[in-house]
Structures are given as C-alpha cells and as structure tokens.
Homo-oligomer: 153 residues x 3
C-alpha cells in the first residue's frame, strides 16, 4: 500500500507548510537524502503552544505535540516531493523536548511522531531516533523534531 493511501486512510489532514523561523529554508536535498528543518507543533486556534513538559504540559500533551510536529514535517515532504510516495525510507528522527530537569518520559512523547511515521510509511517508516530534554526552545515551544528521509532521485 502506498504512503498516500495510508495517510488518507488515517483520516488526517496536513497543515499548511509553516514558514521557517529565521533565515533558512524548509528542506534541502543532496543526492537521495532530504533534510527537513526543525519543526514545532502547529498552532492551536491560531496560537502557538508555549511551555515546558512537566510544568505547563503533561506527557500526554507532549505525545500530541510530537504527532502535530510530525504532520508539519509531512506537509513539507508533500510540498517538496509532490507525493509522500516519493519517500523511500525515513532515515532519522531527532526530538528536542522543552522540559523541566526532572522529566523522564521522552521516549513516550516522541512515539507520538514515530507512531505516525510508522502508520504512514509502513516498513519504510522504520527510522533511527534520538531524543533529548532541553532547557529552552525558540519562542518557548514545547518540542521540535528534525527528520532526514531517503527519496527517489
């Protein structure tokens, strides 16, 4: 089954591609690798989420943020490639979680993104991963993720 069909079957909607927050671009392809810029979750009712996990936000909130940030990445891929079916393999997912020093649920949170990649891309969604807890992020967003994928040349 194709990634486009799987995505449609999930009943999800891609957000509009969010603008880079600074003097950079959303994606760069070199050979068959496509790097996508770090993405935060989408705004909710027009307002960007702001705050730390373990303080303002719960682990369950974080799972939702990871899912949302992953949809932001998929929106970039769709725009740049024309179709999610051009993704050969998800390669790397790096998550940075804005959290209090006592936070420990990073793996559970980032599965919000990993589960979506798996649901959309199937076996091609299996990726390597790393996740850290950071003390601050741009504009106070609760989480950012960064993705590298292999694409058809």
């Amino acid at each position: 089954m194709s990634a486009e069909i799987r995505f449609n079957n999930l009943g999800l909607t891609l957000p509009p591609v969010s603008a880079p927050v600074g003097n950079y671009t959303s994606a760069v392809q070199v050979g068959n690798l496509m790097y996508i810029s770090g993405k935060a979750p989408s705004p909710v009712d027009g307002v960007m989420p702001k705050g730390k996990l373990g303080q303002r936000y719960s682990t369950a909130d974080g799972v939702g943020f990871a899912h949302s940030a992953c949809l932001e990445v998929l929106a970039v891929l769709k725009e740049k490639l024309g179709s999610l079916d051009k993704v050969v393999q998800v390669v790397d997912l790096h998550g940075s979680i804005n959290a209090v020093p006592e936070f420990e649920q990073h793996a559970e949170v980032l599965d919000g993104a990993s589960d979506l990649l798996s649901a959309v891309f199937g076996p091609a969604g299996a990726h390597v991963r790393s996740v850290i807890g950071v003390s601050s992020l741009r504009n106070g967003v609760p989480l950012t993720i960064k993705v590298i994928v292999e694409v058809r040349e």
Copy 2:
C-alpha cells in the same frame, strides 16, 4: 590491522544489542551511510544508570558511561554488518550529557567514546564531534550518544 583484531586485542566484550526505547529501529543504512540510534550506557548489574553529571555522577563516571554507550553502538554495528571491518570510516559522533547547568567537562567525558572509536578503528576512527549538556534524558540516563558511519556498500 583490522578493527576486529584491534577490538579483540583490547580485551573488551560487546554487550547484547539493547532494544530500541520506543517505536524505532537500531540502525538505518542509506547508500554507504549507516545511522545508529541514540544509545545510553549499558545497565550495571541489571540496573540502568540514572542521574546527572555534577550531581549524582562525577566526570570520571561520565567517561565510563561514554565508553559504555560506545560499546552499545559497536554492538549494533557488529550485528548489522556482521563484522566491524565493514566500517570504512566513523563519520559523526554526537553526545548529549545529562548534567547540572554548571557542568563544563563535556569534552573530557565524550573522549570516553572517542578514545574507544580511535582504539578500535585506528585512522578510520577519526570523526567529527559535537557535544551538549542537556537538562534531562529518557528515564534519567546520564548520557546518550549518536553515531553515523560510512560502510562498504
């Protein structure tokens, strides 16, 4: 001299490959690049180390953790490639150290991993590196490292 021979001469033992902590995979190869997922140190007497450098753990402890996490990476490489001799070049090592805000010995700590890569791979172990101090990590582990290597296609 081969990496396998160098490793055996060091008198070290590879740990069993630890399971991914979440919905992802241990390694992905694209072309001649192999990405390995972030790895924490091995359990000690069946218990995962937990705590921050500059608080529960010393810099010397950290050097040992970096060495241990690097063995975890080597165990993945051995499993995926069959032999450490399939590594053409270690490319990139990124370290995230769970530390108090006053911590400054990141370089010394990460040499625990870099020295092992150098001892095992010789000139092919020379890698680029970055290291940061983070405020939290999954399950409170003191350190994670992430590695990219070039392999024979």
Copy 3:
C-alpha cells in the same frame, strides 16, 4: 559571483582553524557530504567567551557569537577544500545555545550564522536549520554550531 569573491567583499577575515577540543577531527568527507565538528565562537583578546544567554550575555551578544562560530566553520572549509567555491550547497546548520530556561530568542541568535552563510554562498547558502537551548556546554561557551555541506567530489 563566487563565494570567495563574496567573502572578500564582506571585508571579513577568517580566524585560524581552532584545534578540536578532544580526540576527534575538524571535518570528515563521505561522498559529496562534508561534516564539520561543532564550533564555538572565537576567543576575544585571547579569552574564550564563557557564560549563558539571558544571564551573562544578551541576545545581541548571541548574534555576534553565532556569526563568529560560523567564521570558525568557514575557516575549516577553506582549509579542507582550498576554496569556499568548492561548496555546492550548505545543507544543515544545527545550533546549541547555552541559555537560561526562560530564553526564547534562539531564532534571532542563530540568524547570526544563517545570515553569514547566505551572504557568502548566495542561493547555495540556503540550508535547513534546527536550534535548541541547552543547560550547559563544554568549558561554559555560550554557543556551538554544527554544519554539513555538499562539496564537489
């Protein structure tokens, strides 16, 4: 216009290539990708900057540090490649800012590096980016950046 000509027109001077802070190397090329090790800003009057943004240093200081760290990266590229014109495309810029937990101006700070890449490389300077706020860095430096570029093989 070439990157070398653009750089000269900016009236800037490359610093000497700073030594790796640990057992690693400044750059590794694999295929047409060149990875450069994490770089801090240059010393000022022989002294390395030390301190956190939002505490000892302002956002404006941070912009200058990002600019300076980017010059450190360019110095490595110049040494390894012989000429900045060998850079086909800047691929990835990752910034780690040593900051207090309340800091939010990461994007503004990292534009100090992104703006320089854009000024030197023109359209080939458009890169993907991620930036995080960390609680500590080696020797207390206020910021490090890490860069990947595509080069002519």
